[in-house]
Every structure is written in C-alpha cells, then in structure tokens.
Amino acid sequence: MVLASFFRLWNTFDYPEFLPTSDEAIHIPNAISLSTFGTTDQLNWQHPQLSGLILSGTIQLFGNNPVGWRISNVLFGIGSVLLVYLVGNLLYPASCAPLLAAGLIALDPFHIYISRTTFVELPASFFFLLYLYFMLQHTENKRSTLPFAGVAMGLTIATKAYFVIAIPLVIGYALNKARQENRLTQALYADYFFTLLLLPLSLALLSYIQWFGRGYTLPEFFRMKLDAAWALQQFRKEEFMSALMHAGGSPGEWFLKPILFGQQLSADAENGRFIMEINNFPFRMIALLSLALTGLHAWQKRSLQDALAPLLFVACYLLFIVVKRPMFSYSAMVLLPFAYLATGRAVSLLAGKIQKPALACGCFLSCVILWGVYTFPLVAGQQVPLYLYRPILAMAKIIGAN
C-alpha cells in the first residue's frame, strides 16, 4: 500500500496542464459544466455522470488545478489495490494469490498512469470491486453486507456501463452459493430485490439529479437513455482521435502484445522525460495463460469460487469484443483486477507444486516490484537516462512531443 500510494502521489500534481494523451481536456470542462449547468460540455452526454460529479466535487474542494483534477483517481487507484487484496483474500484464502494480485495492480505502470489522471474507468472499477467485496462477504462469511453491496452496485452503474454482464454474474454466483447451502428462501429473494435491484437503480437515478434540475421528468430520462444507446452505436473509429486509437491497439491485442505510447516532454542525447501509457506487457502476456490455468483448476475442483475471476474477466472482455463501437486502450483498466487475481492464483498454484512455495511467490513479487520501479519514471514524467530505457522506447509510439 505504501508503494501503491507513493507511485500514485509522487509528482502527480506537478504537471500543470491537461495531459495530452489523456482525456483530461474532455473530463474537466465536462465536470465544471455539470456542476454549473447540469449537463456535460462535450462528447459525454451518452454516459452516466457520477464520475463527472465526483470530479466537480474535488474541483470545488481543491480548486480548478491539478490537485482538484487528479486527486479522486489517486484515491480510487490506491483504494483499488486494497480492494483487490481483500477480494483475493476471500476468493483464495491461505495463499499468496491476494498479495501477488494486489502487488501486480499496485505496480502496474498502466494502472499507475490511469490513477494519475481523470479516466472514469478507475472509479467504475473501484466501485465494482467494492460491490464484489461486499457480495463475497455476504456469500463467504455470511455477513449482512447486502445493502452496502447494493450501494456499491448503484455507484458502479452510475459511473459507466462496463459491468452490465459482470454485475448479474456476481448475483448468479451468490444465488448458486445460497442454493448449495440450502439458504434459497423467499426472504433471500426479497432481500436481493430490495438491496440489489431497487436500491442501486434508485441510486443510479439520483445521480442524474443535476440533469433533472434542467427541467426534465422521468419519461424524458428514459427517452434520453434510448437516444444515448442509439448514439453510442453510431460512433465510428475514424471519428475519434486516430493517433490515440491506433497507438492503444484493439481489444484483441491488449493482452497479447506490448503496447506503449505517450508524450515526450523533453529529450537530449542522454536523457529524456516522458509520460507514457505502458500495458505492463511482461505480466499482461501471462494473464491469458493464468486465466486459462485458473479456469482449468476451477473446472477440475468444480469450484465456482475459483472460477469467478476468469468468469468476470470474460464477462467484461466479451463486451469489448462484441460491442459495435470503437474502444480506447484505457478501457482495459476494468479487466486488470480479474486478470491479476487469476495471475496471482495461477502463480500460487504453480508455487504450491514446488518445495518452497513462499520462495517462488517471493521471487514473482520481486519481479513485479523491479518492473514497476523500472517503468515508473516513464509513466510519471521523471527524467531518465535513455540508455537504460532504449529497449522499451524502441517499441514506443511517441504521439506528442514538447
């Protein structure tokens, strides 16, 4: 957590302008417009608006400056690391998997990059992890956390629609668990109806309060949502900033090849400063294999608990593959917790097959830390000696230079 906080806070507020390879130039005017006029400013009316409200809240609290712009994602990023550990602990107790998964998220240069700017994928992912954590507390430890799960689900829906398949999947998992334990009663169905349907939908509707303040009523809300669904289907790849879209690769490539791109702030013959999006390729490329291994293990053990992370990964990834609209690389953010939970699980299973599992997990974690420390300066705009980073920079696409 210390490393996660350090990498997300260090130097984050020193860049005084909107980061050119991020969407800050869209998110920040949108947030200000949302709090002033109740509507977004550009290219965002089709999406839920909670992240804009959060951003406008931090801008009102800390000012229209880099702290106000970026502090919320810093906190969501650090919180996500903690939640991945807690979720891992519930899914794979008494193993090194939670620690490895949290380590992977904490030191992932892509997650760090997203945490240092304003992308809405991070709050969406954070709220879903919170929902998953409370649901697992309910299913695994029989805690009365359903209302909290409902609140977290509502916040997820109110942020972005990435988890439309994953949310019901978790409910299905919980219902199946209850069935296995003969707890499937009418009272449980009623609890689910109130806390996992009525409560989150009401909360999601409430997140449009500023929009209703523009004079609208509920029937107009439904018409706007239908318009939004239609409009999202109309987006064409060529209408977006093509340099960013191409540099980030297609969803099919995100876990298969190195993807590095970003801005060069300065460079001379020996040193350079960059702000780069790096897809953490050494570990992302073992993620698909790890998901397959974890899935196979779950199949052999007939354990839905073991299969949950791979299933959630597939549920979110399917959306990117089948949806009829272009996807930017930052959307990969929502897949990382499940990919890394499965990676942590696969490594812990393989480590269990050798004599010294703790040593194997320790070695893997050391690699994660070394890679994270090595790539961090490239993400954070720190000056780096070019000879140390030549192999990485040779693969990178520089799409903006000062």
């Binding site: 400013d41 009316w45 209302p147 004079g215």
Partner: protein, 200 residues
C-alpha cells in the same frame, strides 16, 4: 430480523423519494416569464440576450424559423439557441419550418458536422446535442405541446396564412406560451402576439 426490516423500510423510503423527485424536481425547477410578454429582436445575435433577460430555465422552445444554419462559431441563431440550451434555458427545442423550406432544411441538417449523426424519421429530424434534443419538422407535421412553451418566430419566413395558423394554435390553447421573441418583427406582429399574451 430487525436489521432486515430496517433495510427494507429504508430502501423503500429512499426509492419512493427518488421516484417522486424524478417526477417533480424538473417541473419545479422550470422558470417562466412573468408577466407573459412578446419582444422583438433585430439580429440573430440579440436572441440569446433577450432570452437570458427573461430569466427562463428548463423550458421547451418552439422555433418557428428555418434559420438554424449550419454555421457555428459566428453570431447565428444556431449559436444563440445552442448556448441557451447549454445554459439550461431550454431542455428541448422543436424547430418548425415552412413546408416549402423543409427539403432544404432537411438536407442542411443531414450534412451538419456533429458528434452524433441526426436521427431521421418519416416526419422529422432530431439532432442529439450535449444539452438536449432539437427536433426539426415542417409545420404540417407539428403537433401540440402540452406544457407552456417559449416561442421564437421569424414572421418574414411565413406566408400570411401560415402566420395566422400559428397564432390560432396559440389562441386555441394548443400552444400555450408565456414568452414570444419576434425576429425583425413589425409593430403589428408585436401587437398581435402582445395582445394574445396580455389576454392570458
């Protein structure tokens, strides 16, 4: 058991409150022109100041003019209307054009550069903007609106018969209005609409 009952009761109360809010908050937020009145403006760029000075909020605008040109960034009626929408004066706009001008306006809207392409139906074209919808249609396809609306009219764009038809719509209550902006209006236009509004 007590925890369960409390959770269900709180959830129900919360949901009912949100539902109630979603039906009532919008209408309560709308601001109408008091007293109802008609004003004339000489240029397109004067439309927004005239609307702003009336203190309107959250309203439906009926725009009886074919003037929504595709030029953005200059002082056109387009800019005035879209600014008024963004600044919450209007949530929905219906642009009603003379039937004779419909083919031209229709094709203008099709080529207009916008993030979302226009939504086309048999009877109208809808532009989906960040701040709301603009539905464009010919006068013959215009239907009554159930709430009090703001009207902007360019009398020069209409024949005397069409002008009379629009005024009849207002007088019959099918187009209840509290604020009329007349573009380049003559004194008799102002008198006509003013008389109607004073009679409300």
């Amino acid at each position: 058991m007590r925890y369960r009952t409390t959770v269900i009761a709180l959830t129900l109360a919360f949901s009912c409150a949100v539902l109630l809010l979603s039906f009532t908050y919008g209408p309560f937020s709308r601001v109408y022109a008091t007293p109802p009145r008609a004003v004339t403006v000489d240029t397109d760029s004067a439309i927004y100041p005239a609307l702003k000075s009336a203190g309107l909020k959250g309203r439906i605008l009926i725009l009886f003019t074919p003037l929504l040109s595709p030029q953005i960034g200059t002082n056109t009626s387009t800019e005035s209307i879209e600014l008024a929408m963004r600044h919450s004066l209007f949530r929905t706009v219906y642009q009603v054009v003379p039937d004779s001008a419909w083919p031209k306006v229709f094709s203008q809207n099709l080529v207009r550069p916008m993030p979302t392409p226009p939504k086309i139906s048999d009877t109208d074209v809808t532009l989906l903007l960040e701040a709301g919808r603009i539905t464009v249609m010919p006068l013959s396809r215009f239907w009554p609106v159930e709430e009090n609306v703001v009207v902007i009219i360019d009398p020069a764009a209409w024949t005397p018969d069409e002008r009379a038809h629009i005024l009849r719509l207002m007088q019959s209550g099918n187009l209840a209005t509290d604020f009329v902006v007349i573009i380049n209006g003559q004194s008799d236009d102002l008198q006509q609409y003013g008389a109607y509004l004073r009679g409300k």
